[in-house]
Symmetry: C2
Subunit: 345 residues, 2 copies
């Protein structure tokens, strides 16, 4: 059995080089370079000899050197926002599929919802010379990416727009989706509807809140500020917010949950209550239809977000001079029972 690692010596120092391949094959360095880079001017017999030497020595081209010589790396970077949010699984997968169809490798990292980490990660990917970058922003200031974009790194934002710079963005109709979801509750007879959302610094959270306020205003309903709660999607915070607006003198009879992380916690809180409370959540999620009642949602299409954003990225990489564009995808109301419960009082 081979040893897993050599414990000492310079890392990478014992990799076979093109020189080693040339020596073993009995050819010149330029010939090896031609074979490795698929250039013409090598006879089939010589190519075979070089390939055998490459195989025998375990030689691998050093792409770091290639990047310095050529412009492109055929690599696309994706800055994710939260690895634990299942919403991003299909988005990530769609980006990967499109990148692969273009012959590019996708490398990801996550900001874990921290603007400083987003910046660090995006710049680290640029330093590794990705051709393009897809960013799900955690922060609101993306001027740090200006030098990279000027230098030619194609950049597309997805889910939320960039801050402080003019750049492509692909997102869902957050305002319209939330407005439609809340209007659905109001049409069912609810007058006191609560809203629990993500941090107010997050664009999607404030857009969805704007949709909630619009639907309430259009129905001529006042909003008590105790019915609105923005903040972390951490279960403890969300559960406390839900319990608070379900208690008191003017308890809500329905809740609009601002994203899937909020919805699953609200489902838990409502399951522990004696009275039925209506619920509509932004984002669809697995098993929503199997809960009792099924959870009514405003569904986004995360795979479409990823696909459209990556298509846009490769349009940019193909050299077309495109103005920065905002592409908004529609949402879809999926009634399943929880959003159709009548007011309890």
């Amino acid at each position: 059995m081979p040893h897993n690692h050599r414990p000492s010596g310079p890392r990478y120092g014992n990799r076979p080089t093109m020189k080693d391949v040339a020596a073993r094959a009995g050819v010149g360095l330029k010939t090896v370079s031609r074979v490795v880079n698929g250039e013409p001017g090598v006879t089939p017999e010589t190519e075979k000899r070089v390939q055998e030497a490459i195989e025998a020595l375990g030689f691998r081209r050093n792409d770091s050197a290639r990047v310095l010589r050529k412009g492109r790396t055929a690599t696309v970077g994706l800055v994710l926002e939260d690895l634990a949010d299942p919403f991003y699984g299909p988005l990530n997968r769609a980006v990967e599929e499109v990148a692969r169809a273009h012959g590019a490798l996708l490398i990801n990292g996550s900001s874990a919802q921290d603007p400083d980490r987003e910046r660090e990660l995006a710049l680290a990917l640029c330093a590794r010379r990705v051709d393009g970058l897809i960013v799900i922003p955690a922060g609101n200031d993306h001027r740090y990416l200006e030098p990279e974009m000027r230098a030619g790194v194609a950049t597309v934002f997805v889910d939320r727009p960039a801050g402080g710079i003019d750049a492509d963005v692909v997102l869902s109709d957050n305002y319209g989706g939330a407005r439609g979801g809340v209007a659905h509750l109001v049409a069912g007879g609810h007058r006191r509807v609560g809203f629990i959302g993500d941090h107010p610094r997050i664009h999607t959270a404030t857009e969805r809140l704007r949709g909630y306020r619009a639907a309430m205003a259009e129905a001529g309903l006042a909003v008590a500020e105790s019915w609105v709660s923005l903040g972390s999607t951490e279960p403890g915070r969300v559960a406390a917010a839900a319990r608070s607006m379900l208690a008191g003198r003017e308890p809500v009879t329905a809740v609009f949950a601002g994203n899937n992380r909020v919805t699953v916690t609200v489902v838990r809180v409502l399951a522990s209550l004696q009275r039925p409370v209506a619920l509509v959540g932004f984002d669809d999620f697995e098993l929503a239809d199997l809960l009792r009642p099924g959870v009514t949602v405003v569904a986004q299409d995360p795979a479409a977000l990823g696909r459209v954003a990556t298509d846009r990225l490769f349009q940019r990489l193909s050299g077309t001079n495109l103005p920065p564009t905002r592409i908004e995808l529609p949402t879809r109301l999926v009634p399943r029972g929880s959003g159709e419960l009548p007011p309890a009082d």
Copy 2:
């Protein structure tokens, strides 16, 4: 507003260089290099001038060049198997947290369950000179990684062992967990228990099947081959397999589902039946406790798998000469109702 991209000219060709910084700061190239690389021998005033020039020009160090000069990149690669499987979210996040605690950047990619893509991605990450590699294998032959490991790329496999090479692996007690889960069903009075699992080429699938057979044999129960179905976790395939073993002359009264992708589909099939059928699933999943009945599972700890694997990787990177080791983490039976249903007949 700045333009997003320049449409023509060599990509990266217009990035400012160290030479540009030196010219602007009015210092030599070596001085700029010292500042950029944090080396001594520069007065505070000169350093300030150089930093100002770096800031003004938007200069960024080219890490591709650095990699060629130095050995380490402070980058760790993670080859995922399926981006759409929520099991990997906490695993991925744990790897990222540990890597970050060591000052390393994590870059991911997914094999999408395809052994060829796994190989391509792992080698592409090596070509970009990651210091270490964590692999969730899709394939069964990892001899292609031998030259990389010999050249010093620390490599740890997680969830499933490497094939054809001797390497570290961190995994769950798949055999013992499945055996315990099936024994739990048998203890509840079931004599005809079905098993639906992933592809037989996947190590976890065959280990869990082995656990199922052991538990049945220990109870003196014969296994009809119509009760066992391995294959894709695609919902259509799993639903057909479930329906088939729930029909016929000797229908199963309980199902053991080989992973969370299988479990959620079996839950759907059972929800459409008139009679209760017991279910235990391998892997916990979100909302399992809120379904009616709650879903009894054999829970792994995906975050612990990621954490232990990454700790091991950094032990290797610290230069210790460690023999390849297999680390097995225990599983935990979580009874919630579905696994405690008695046989229907």
